[in-house]
Symmetry: C2
DNA sequence: TAGATTGTTAATCGATTAACAATC
DNA sequence: TAGATTGTTAATCGATTAACAATC
């Protein structure tokens, strides 16, 4: 009875997790996986925090949003915590990803080895340049962007990376959304408009460099 | 006298600008430059905010940290505001940048056209693979990483991008710092340790994708 | 002038840190 | 047991928003 009520409460609770906390989980995961490769079995919020440059209190607070994963006096079992974070982030599976734009950046993304075991794999790449369509990138034949919506819809792809010129990025984004894509990693140097329920992350190296330049003499 | 005192106060003030505000300035700049290309002359905090998905109040508050750049009833002169932000960010000049690691990512960075007119230009690229050293990337001959410290020191370079495998990134970072580099854009999927006064920004596409995966069903 | 929009203040909201009982 | 470390609460700190006088 209490058990049930608790369950109901949890369901109704629908506690809103701060996005800033969500944003730190992949960093925790990356460092935990590095520790695992170093065959470390257990860690503490203090040790993990030192590796990340984050306070121990913040790590404990962040994790406590999702459950109780540690043991007093001992700390966190690393393989266990890795699995919990993978579940929380929904990367205890592999998401198929489409790349749009087969220039230098798109080709580097299609070949990138860094997605392996991190929840994603590139499965198709598009371009609108007739000289590029049909060529091979990694193991993929570059497809015509004209067929993007159908191909992505048929494959049920929910995640895409955009590496087209800035002036094509919004149009490509609109097509991706109409094809059912819900998460877009945008390399074009432009702010995108997307409807509620679609997520965008931005990678613009010039923006990152400019931010640091502020602190340069 | 009052004038002087004001100046002195400003000097002594040394008001700490929140880093989160600094981080938004490059986004404001990017959108303002897009508006300028659309030959718009004047904008308001409301209009700029709509393009960026940021509240008008936040834009005004952010800018007010650095001075009074607008005009009541009118808004902001776009070319004027662009110049002020470029000064604030210290990108009213061109920073030379070194790329370390001439794999797919490093080569894409060396060829990237997106740094033009945004305050940076790549001037050298390094790798430690004998098969790659001496080859051409864009207009640059790939140099041996063994000579990195001397070359960067001699050129007075303060900004670098790291695109080497994760297990070499900390060692490369240490060398860059000993060569005088103060700002590092790190593409290796690892947290770097750097001393006070050195700035790091991270680009890890898997981290960005993982963050969005949380919101996917 | 009337309308628009700034820069700034005060109020609100949210995130981080400090501290500690619980407990392994 | 003694020492260590969690999960959580309360206190602090910082960021965002609302509101408006000033003024173009």
């Amino acid at each position: 009875m209490l058990q049930l009520q608790k369950g109901v409460q949890l369901l109704m609770d629908n506690k809103q997790i701060p996005d800033i906390v969500v944003g730190r989980l992949p960093l925790y995961l990356r460092t935990l996986q590095k520790m695992a490769r170093e065959t470390i079995q257990v860690t503490s919020s203090l040790e993990l925090g030192e590796r990340l440059g984050i306070s121990a209190a913040q790590i404990r607070k962040d994790l406590s949003q999702f459950g109780e994963f540690g043991k007093q006096g001992t700390g966190y079992n690393i393989p266990f915590l890795i699995e919990r974070i993978r579940e929380i982030l929904h990367i205890d599976r592999v998401w198929d990803v489409a790349v749009v734009g087969a220039g230098d950046v798109g080709r580097a993304l299609a070949r990138y080895q860094g997605f392996a075991d991190r929840g994603f794999r590139v499965v198709m790449i598009f371009d609108n340049n007739p000289d590029v369509i049909g060529t091979l990138v990694a193991d993929f034949t570059v497809q015509n962007t004209a067929g993007l919506v159908e191909a992505i819809q048929n494959a049920g792809i929910k995640v895409a990376m955009v590496s087209v010129p800035a002036d094509q990025a919004q149009s490509v984004t609109d097509q991706l959304i109409s094809a059912g894509v819900k998460a877009i990693l945008n390399y074009a140097p432009i702010s995108l408009s997307v409807p509620e329920g679609v997520w965008v992350q931005y990678i613009d190296p010039a923006v990152h460099l400019q931010r640091m330049a502020f602190y340069l003499a």
